[in-house]
């Protein structure tokens, strides 16, 4: 995973190899495995949480899925590549995240627009 700052906010680049031995994957679907769409969302969430880090022991919560759209599939053995932009915090601390997900060959898999927030009481 890599992070860079640009004028518009934090840019996160992360990737994950889809592991056929994951017990969830084997069940989605038996004999016909495909990386579940919600796990693409989970991959983005984990990358954002890891990049933003802990505050008082708490990671930022995923508080909203504004939009999520799947346009392609990823299978075990393939790599999912995530490019996410994190905007500046809003007045209530909300962080907007816009992420594009592709396969390693560049073909589009998903676009997700999310909101995150640190739990109340967690500070820098």
């Amino acid at each position: 995973m890599q992070m860079t700052e640009d004028g518009g906010g934090l840019v996160i680049n992360a990737s994950k190899r889809i592991d056929a031995s994951d017990p969830y994957i084997a069940a989605h679907f038996p004999g016909r495995t495909i990386y579940p769409g919600v796990f693409i969302l989970e991959t983005v969430r984990q990358a954002v949480a890891a990049a933003l880090g802990e505050r008082s022991g708490a990671y930022p919560d995923l508080t909203a899925v504004r939009s999520l759209r799947f346009v392609g599939a990823v299978h075990p053995g393939e790599r999912l590549v995530v490019a996410a932009t994190v905007g500046s915090p809003g007045p209530d601390g909300t962080l907007d995240v816009d992420a594009g997900c592709r396969r390693a060959d560049g073909s589009a898999v998903a676009r997700v627009v999310l909101e995150f927030r640190y739990p109340a009481g967690s500070h820098d």
Binding site: A27, H28, R32, L41, R45, A58
Partner: protein, 163 residues
């Protein structure tokens, strides 16, 4: 009521990915109430060490959405019929889903799902996710497409899974 065995027969998921335990009430094609009990023995907790702060064991939002989506799939099947072999409902999109609270091992998720409409093989559902009297989530829209040819043997070339 629709019990676990009947739900398993309606959805293609294997046991580890089966995230609806029971349909408590249903008006076919219009609305249902489904439950899913969260257990610390589920695979999502396998890699977490003991003794972390409580929040670290919250049930993943992604699995809450999957669980809600499976309940919505049962509701769609109740009106349109279970898809033919080789066809399944693919999760295509979601909009305006807000998460207000968290669930933990021992909690029972309750999905209140309303089927909005289906247009040329694309279905829309919305609703809320509760634990007891706590509303955890408002689901503005989950969208699925009926798709043939997705169920190919593992290792095949990828096929589109969305719209």
């Amino acid at each position: 009521m629709i019990d676990y065995g009947e739900i398993r027969a309606m959805l293609p998921h294997g046991a580890a990915m089966m995230l609806v335990d029971r349909i408590e009430w249903m008006e076919p094609g219009r609305a249902l109430r489904a439950v899913k009990a969260i257990s610390g023995s589920e695979p999502c907790y396998a890699h977490l060490p003991p003794g972390l702060p409580r929040e670290r064991y919250s049930y993943p939002v992604s699995l809450m959405i999957e669980s809600f989506g499976q309940a919505a799939a049962v509701l769609w099947h109740s009106a349109a019929g279970t898809p033919a072999p080789g066809t399944l409902l693919a999760f295509a999109a979601a909009r305006d889903c807000r998460f207000h609270g968290r669930a933990y091992p021992g909690d029972v998720l309750r999905h209140e799902v309303e089927f909005e409409h289906a247009v040329s093989g694309t279905g829309f559902a919305r609703g809320q996710i509760w634990v007891g009297d706590r509303r955890l989530a408002t689901i503005g829209s989950v969208i699925a497409v009926r798709r043939a040819g997705l169920m190919r043997p593992t290792g095949d070339v990828a096929v589109p899974a969305g719209t």
